[in-house]
Symmetry: D2
Subunit: 477 residues, 4 copies
Amino acid sequence: MLEGYNNGLDDLQGDQPREECGIFGIHGPGLDVARLTYYGLYALQHRGQESAGIAVSDGKMIQLQKDMGLVSEVFDHEKLNSFNGHVAIGHVRYSTTGTNNRLNAQPFVFHTSRGMLALAHNGNLTNISQLRSFLFSAGSAFQSTTDSEIIVNLIARHSKESLVEAIKQSMEEIKGAYSILLLNENKLIGIRDPHGIRPMCLGRRGNAYILASESCALDTVGAEFIRDVEPGEIIIIDDNGLTSCQAFQGRRRAHCVFEYIYFARADSNMDGFKINQVRREMGRQLAREYPVDADIVIPVPDSGIAAARGFAAESGIPFEEGLMKNRYIGRTFIQPSQSIRDLGVRLKLNPIRDVLDGKRVVIVDDSIVRGTTSGKIVNMLRETGVKGVHFCISSPPVIKPCFYGIDISNEKELIACRKPLREIRQLIGADGLHYLSLEGLLEIFGKKRDNFCTACFSGDYPVEIPQVQDRDKFLLE
Amino acid sequence: MLEGYNNGLDDLQGDQPREECGIFGIHGPGLDVARLTYYGLYALQHRGQESAGIAVSDGKMIQLQKDMGLVSEVFDHEKLNSFNGHVAIGHVRYSTTGTNNRLNAQPFVFHTSRGMLALAHNGNLTNISQLRSFLFSAGSAFQSTTDSEIIVNLIARHSKESLVEAIKQSMEEIKGAYSILLLNENKLIGIRDPHGIRPMCLGRRGNAYILASESCALDTVGAEFIRDVEPGEIIIIDDNGLTSCQAFQGRRRAHCVFEYIYFARADSNMDGFKINQVRREMGRQLAREYPVDADIVIPVPDSGIAAARGFAAESGIPFEEGLMKNRYIGRTFIQPSQSIRDLGVRLKLNPIRDVLDGKRVVIVDDSIVRGTTSGKIVNMLRETGVKGVHFCISSPPVIKPCFYGIDISNEKELIACRKPLREIRQLIGADGLHYLSLEGLLEIFGKKRDNFCTACFSGDYPVEIPQVQDRDKFLLE
Amino acid sequence: MLEGYNNGLDDLQGDQPREECGIFGIHGPGLDVARLTYYGLYALQHRGQESAGIAVSDGKMIQLQKDMGLVSEVFDHEKLNSFNGHVAIGHVRYSTTGTNNRLNAQPFVFHTSRGMLALAHNGNLTNISQLRSFLFSAGSAFQSTTDSEIIVNLIARHSKESLVEAIKQSMEEIKGAYSILLLNENKLIGIRDPHGIRPMCLGRRGNAYILASESCALDTVGAEFIRDVEPGEIIIIDDNGLTSCQAFQGRRRAHCVFEYIYFARADSNMDGFKINQVRREMGRQLAREYPVDADIVIPVPDSGIAAARGFAAESGIPFEEGLMKNRYIGRTFIQPSQSIRDLGVRLKLNPIRDVLDGKRVVIVDDSIVRGTTSGKIVNMLRETGVKGVHFCISSPPVIKPCFYGIDISNEKELIACRKPLREIRQLIGADGLHYLSLEGLLEIFGKKRDNFCTACFSGDYPVEIPQVQDRDKFLLE
Amino acid sequence: MLEGYNNGLDDLQGDQPREECGIFGIHGPGLDVARLTYYGLYALQHRGQESAGIAVSDGKMIQLQKDMGLVSEVFDHEKLNSFNGHVAIGHVRYSTTGTNNRLNAQPFVFHTSRGMLALAHNGNLTNISQLRSFLFSAGSAFQSTTDSEIIVNLIARHSKESLVEAIKQSMEEIKGAYSILLLNENKLIGIRDPHGIRPMCLGRRGNAYILASESCALDTVGAEFIRDVEPGEIIIIDDNGLTSCQAFQGRRRAHCVFEYIYFARADSNMDGFKINQVRREMGRQLAREYPVDADIVIPVPDSGIAAARGFAAESGIPFEEGLMKNRYIGRTFIQPSQSIRDLGVRLKLNPIRDVLDGKRVVIVDDSIVRGTTSGKIVNMLRETGVKGVHFCISSPPVIKPCFYGIDISNEKELIACRKPLREIRQLIGADGLHYLSLEGLLEIFGKKRDNFCTACFSGDYPVEIPQVQDRDKFLLE
């Protein structure tokens, strides 16, 4: 799997699931909260490159700026300086190619009976179809197809209750995966779904509290990590400090295991585990499951590096960097035309001949979705003089779609869903192919092994998934 | 009054009321409706230069594109060609300097229980504060501060009725001035408020029906003018043709008289009168009311041309073009810095010395709002060698704010509201100053003299105006 | 002939010769010369809309900024404020559609043995082919196909002489039409070709001297007109004041008469004549030459207005504005697609029915080049109910190409060159067609009638024109 | 040293010398040479991010497109498709902050007595001041301050000779470091300076020949590496194939050793050495020179990775990735304001606590120029709980400026020039500091140890450097 923009080149290769979003919020009287949110979003940029937005409140009104593009493209000095206030939320959104995406950029700001309310959301609701029908019949009109409008309309309808009570009641109505930041004129509120599917953590910088998708954002803004937000928890931060309440009791935890495999940044820690260590351990486990005689272990950069290192350490086979990644591919990179289609994956990855020539190679990546890129990489390695290629994947085969916020293609596109292992190996042309076993994956988490959502590997969905008739639409969107 | 962009220069001069919007809709199976809407909006560009948008339906879904800028800036070939469908509406919005204007660009597209619904709106509701409170308490959440969201939410709440019935009921709830185009998957619907304050007319091009703010847009797209839409009328156009119904009976007509004085394009006709003729007649009437001994009559271009011509014809004083207008001032024109502040109005208007030198001049403009520009013009004429200046205004003094969609500043800024005629004359430095009398203005319309809203001249508001506590906010927005 | 951008629409209509450029220079210690140049160029914007540029010297080095677009598009606050200095030149260039136009934007800045030298140029050299060959054989290498590089290289080669002497010697080498502004670290220098084909005038604002293509630029920056620069004159302005010398003696004057017919702004005066008066007089002369029985005289706006007014005054036939011009057509306006090709000229000009219906009309324009637009206008007038159309042109038929800086198409495209008057009349569908006679045109200038270049009407070229083999290339570029 | 854009953040850190440029040329009848050049430049993007340009000839004329920005920003589908031809050159330029950079973007295209000539250049001439004087006195005028104009003017002056002869004679006149690609209507010509200071290699893809700064560009376009271009060699490629000649005999080789330390991509090979291996070996040598007791070896990513790996392998101390690099910092990244200045280097590098906490760390980077970033990194490591920090630099101290195309600041800014090792160590706060010895560096190259330019470490300049009075200007530019 190759990280990067969803530019033309990825259509060639394209084996990446895409995380929906990253969110960041700060309550920091006296601080330049807009700028800290900018840096926080920048640290979360790997979670979304399509759009970026920041909403800031000065206690009276909420200002909003958002647009398509990277954080550094959307905001300039002038825009950041035009913000005024002490509490802010921000959002980055994944890269896609639809039309009207600007309408879907977050945060959203709404005027409600309680005043202004801004919302930034990571995740996906699974009963959106029912919620929409209900709200339609009550007379709601929506301007986007996002979950965010649904959620705010639900909260707005509980206009007689306190805001926290309204949120609680709305959380009982919505189902699915969500980590949400809300901002009204004075308060920063964080909400995590009852299973904790999508991540969110809490940090502090001096007197300021921060809520963010990942701990690397806390590091980047010089904040210390306090703890992860609990599943089902509502955290309210205002001038009186932080209060918390639990909206649900006794639900099972089901943290998205793909965060550990691919999405999260290696330097984050999440729900008790350090991403970097978990990935290293996945590689070690792979090596234990798949003993192989080879000369070197190489990663598919950057996604396979940590696991490849673990594989090398466990197996004793030397780690090498055999593929050089070009880091300058940007949003608008132009695909090869038909006549030079053979350049393919070479534009992004260049094999280092002196490392590879004549070697038997174990190559490690984090996942295979469609399989097209993996085959091109194997082919390129062979052209470079590699004697044998064992492809090792640090996660189990993806056989089921995700309904909780990861853009994993539908079952028809999932290679592992359609073909047995042997055929996949033949298809990508490797001499060996091994996926980390689900059991092997879970062992890494020890006693906490049941705390994770593994639905895309097992079909064991922790939350009710959309009805069949709604599913296609769901997946397409 | 000088037409043009609201660029920096207008802050120098700035004596222009601003029309809120222009709207255009077409139901034309087999036609390139997006392109025709583009041309229609372009013909209405004088009604708004801030933003432009087009929504097109192909019978199944509505596509929307809108952005800040002129019609020709917002749309290019690729964008126009990406539209697909047979029915469309478009909107141009006036120029202002607020933040987040992009959120206020029209049309809006909503998802409702009835499917998609697009709306383009010209005018202002006067009971928006009450409507908003009502909808808030029913749980609505809004993303903009526009009337449009209010209107669609009202319609959406009547989800049990037919669309036309829901519109009718909503029209009973809203008060104020509005000409509205609605688009659902199949229908184009036009609505005009019960007094007909804002204009809308109906045309036909082959089998296609068109609704537009002004008849000049019909001419531009090669359509013939059929008739004005009646006050209170609802016109529904779909594949079965055109049907119409009346939502109100027996309200008085109150067409905005400022359309005739300034807003409408000279080649339009509106509610039975030809704009060009009316303006000519205003000049004639001015000449009758204010006989003066002078050598030439000159207009302030372009707004005073027709009236100046009428004045000349009636008085026998020769018409001349004494001021040359620079037409290249664009949105981003840079103001003179302090050291060359004296250049002032010269950047936009240049006096033609050989026409003016030594002459006694009658200069005709359509209106004075704050008076600053008029003073600068008089001063510039004197510097050019003019012997005497009589300033003639082809409308009565503006003494009251407008709540029906014209951005006339609040009473503190209305010069005619604060000062007697004599002081205004001294302030602008003219030897004579005459405003067309209200009686003189109305005489032009003959038997239809009672069909017009003259509230800004008389304070006689045809529709309930906002309560005092809401008014400031109303005027500021 | 319709003014405006060279957008798609003009390809439909396109009967405009295009002026090459406008130039503006100022020596003004203590003044914000960059900003004054900005306003000066803006006043000259009608002479070129393709690109704009400003070069400013602070006595030590010359800063340059230029780009494609209108003056107000190319420069913003930040860019203007980044200029530092007391002497500046600027340039606007006509609109065309070639590639690499950015390379041709002016001013150019060169490093020479004498230090930095900036140049802005209006006109065309006619012996460029020979000059280029000469310089090539001497080892020159050029980066553009402009005259400007040739001129500076000639000056640079006379490196032993004083700058003024080098200019003089270069002027003896170059042939053709040129008004040039040069800027070195300290001096502003103006040069006009020996026949004075292209215009240039001198003005003063306080202690500052200004050189500009037209006097309207002087008015706009608050400067007084001193005099026109003499043909063959070199004017040098530096901290010691203004000095002048004559590079040539006794050449005949040959001011481009098309400046008076079309290019210059109506409020300029040029080489002793006021543009506005001359155009009025052309109309009077037309009326004398072509007595006709008609109900109204209307102009093609804006180019025919002054002449139409003169025609009306002389003939006694009432002047009316029968065609409404849409002023919002911008650079990127999109052409009608094939299916609505009929909209044609209507998008730009809308007939006012109540003025025209049933009338016998004299319509006045300044020139016809290809004839296509004129035919469309006649057709549109007839559709509007006009009873008869007499087309009157306030200039003689254009039968020869211009080699001195006006983009008049080659002989194959000149309708008057290919067809007799009767056929042209039939082609455009008018009931009558009259061109102002050359004799009639010249009479306007009285005793100075021989001071003008009328080559495009008469073939009487005042300066040697390019050799036949170079001509095509010349015309194409 | 941190790679990346020269954005605001680098001003904070900024310890990077900057490579001047990357060049790529292809002669490929029947191939889409523009697109292949695009991909070649993209592979060389690490050599320059300021501007990009491509010139293509179809045998008759040369088309040019260039602008500020990354290759993927400057070119889009439309632009690439508008190129037509079979032979092309391209250029990427380093990132800087001067004004008017657009004027300095390459390639340049010139019209000369021989026809059109395009040039792309990597390196710096050292006798430019003398050459410019000479050309000035001969009447040349320049539009930029680049070497390129000088070189083409020299070639153009030898107009009587064949092109190759003219190039040869020009090469005798110019001194310094240069790898140059020339393109005329039919030929691709590559030139390398007599000492081979800047790199250039030759490759083949089918019948097409390619010349490029680095071999990674050959890999990326699917070409095989043939050989490096020889110092002093002129390679001419046209429809008749490849011919070569030697312009100089017996000069010593002096390949820039910094290419091996920092500039070249790890997967390139250059003048007989594989970059990746050389860097690994530098790390090994460092470990031999500086035996140290530590728990882990970490690189400063990405520039220190290969050397750190070598250090680990030689010393037996485990390699770890202790710093996470944020890869999304773009051109317009906004610096922290004063109040959060402490965030400093954290925005770009985040320490991974579980890797570092309590450890004694060897950190490896390729060079220190000003030392500011190194100190910040040490400080950040200590805050993360590191017990001891040994900073190891895989190159000798930079004590002299470079005049051959690397932007190494002048002596006042070179920390190693101003301070003894002990003070630098104290300044950056490390427990130990070691630079690779020059002897140790050269040993890596074995018998070829005398083939490299080490002037920045030793002051031993292989080519005459600019005279003292010209030097400041030289360094500033």
